[in-house]
Symmetry: C2
Subunit: 305 residues, 2 copies
């Protein structure tokens, strides 16, 4: 069974926000919506998909998608099974053990988990070579990044086929060589978030001002060039080394002085309240519309169109 | 003397990259290029400005700008004096003491320093109320952010006039209520940089892959919504509080496990080399062209044009 052609068959396990956002992505790339199956045990599945999927894909051809509440039926002919279910290890272990009984032998198995390593999810499987984490950045129907996090048992062939799937669809799969908590993207973002909380907690700026700082400086910069490339450029002819030669002393002072706030401490009340008062309910439609324009702009400009 | 009208007169001290980038900004906002003076003691000042300024502003009306190597002459009629000279405390202290002797009494005094607090720069001045740090994000002719960092002596009137100057020119001045090393933007970026170095040093991804992660996820996201707003949206109806309720445990695990690399340690050799091999000399023209497109896109979309 081929995996890149018209005979590809994708089964999504879990019709939550992430699952349906992936559904929107796949529907805009498959030859036919009949190649997609969505498995979820919620009793109102059809109604829920009909009301939610159009938020990600306004004209989604929902009536041609197979909706199922039977795992054996849903996975029997799948060439790719992508799980975006509950973040719960016993659930994932049992799902994969069950999938293994009913899916074809060369089906690719992907988990969208943001925290449970493939090496734990495969605990009850016979063949642990096919499963890896394919962790999206929210919302997956829009953001290019996929973090691929194999277990030590994942086979090279599975990795290659997974990378090729995403690359041929214009996405950016990045292979992580170690299973670390939070993977890469969240670890980086959380490091910046911690310092953000520290600075607000110290009274240097408020929540809205801190966001404005990021939006008007490193946000747009990092949309084009990540931190290493940015500082390599900032170092002039000396590159990243020149950058550290020039201001390494200041960098180290900031590092020595980094905020060490923790979850559950006293900053929470004031910062949660500020966010609520400042932002209320965020308009995700606006966010996604602007996100798409920015991604299109970067893409076009990088190709010098 | 007014400060927002046609009679505004700006003197830039220091014709380095930051100074000339500010020159480009001011030239595109002043009624006449004759309102701008650039002070620098380098012997080839005119030649240098003629060759460098057009990189930031292709058709800069250079012949109408006053170029000076005499501080008393350059500051005598200035309504704003903006210093972007050497990052060296004795230099800045002596410059401001000298400026004070020759400039009008209500002239605004701004330093572009990224590290030397206004409270130290004013040490030898009689009137310490007029000086504050106005720290740009590179390149200043393009990036909206200005971090305003007063000393405890800076007057409210000076702050108000400074904020108004930048706001009326479409920029985003953010007032910092404490003088902290690195201010806000650099502290945040350096926190993320430290974790970036840690992850590359641990062999999870390489330099180029780490940059790609940022460029395809939090970069474009944070160009639209800073970390608090993003996670407030990520928490759904529960907002930022809901976000921490859902995945605060993972956040804390990442914080507990944050990389503690330092400047001068063994990671430098490999990471500096990777940056050099991967990026060589970065094309700043391309970077700035795409940056401008992104900033324009965000601006237009936020105004729903």
């Amino acid at each position: 069974m081929g995996h890149q052609g018209n005979d590809i068959r994708i089964t999504l396990i879990g019709a939550g926000t992430i699952g349906l956002s992936f559904a929107a992505f796949h529907l805009s790339h498959l030859s036919s919506p009949s190649q997609l199956t969505i498995l979820d045990t919620r009793p109102d599945l059809e109604e829920y998909v009909r009301s939610t999927l159009p938020k990600f894909f306004p004209d989604a051809p929902i009536s041609h998608v197979t909706l199922s509440n039977s795992l054996p039926d849903a996975v029997r002919n799948a060439s790719i099974i992508q799980e975006s279910g509950s973040e719960n290890l016993p659930f994932k272990k049992s799902i994969w053990a069950e999938v293994e009984k009913h899916a074809p032998q060369d089906t690719l198995l992907w988990s969208s988990t943001s925290g449970i390593p493939a090496s734990q999810q495969t605990a009850d499987m016979q063949d642990k070579t096919r499963l890896l984490v394919v962790h999206p950045y929210n919302p997956p129907h829009m953001m290019p990044l996929l973090e691929l996090v194999p277990s030590p048992q994942t086979s090279a062939d599975v990795l290659t086929r997974t990378q090729e799937f995403w690359r041929t669809r214009g996405r950016v799969p990045i292979l992580l060589l170690k299973e670390m908590t939070g993977f890469v993207a969240n670890r980086l973002a959380f490091a910046l978030l911690r310092e953000s909380i520290h600075l607000v907690n110290e009274g240097v700026v408020n929540v809205e001002e801190l966001d404005r700082v990021v939006e008007t400086s490193m946000g747009p910069r990092w949309a084009i060039a990540g931190p290493f490339k940015s500082y390599h450029a900032g170092g002039g002819a000396g590159g990243l080394e020149g950058f550290f030669k020039n201001i390494g002393g200041t960098v180290q002072k900031c590092w020595d002085d980094t905020g060490k706030v923790n979850v559950g401490e006293v900053w929470e009340e004031s910062i949660f309240r500020q966010a609520k008062e400042q932002y209320g309910v965020v308009d995700l439609g606006e966010r996604d519309r602007i996100t798409k324009r920015i991604l299109d702009t970067v893409e076009k400009e990088k190709n010098n169109e």
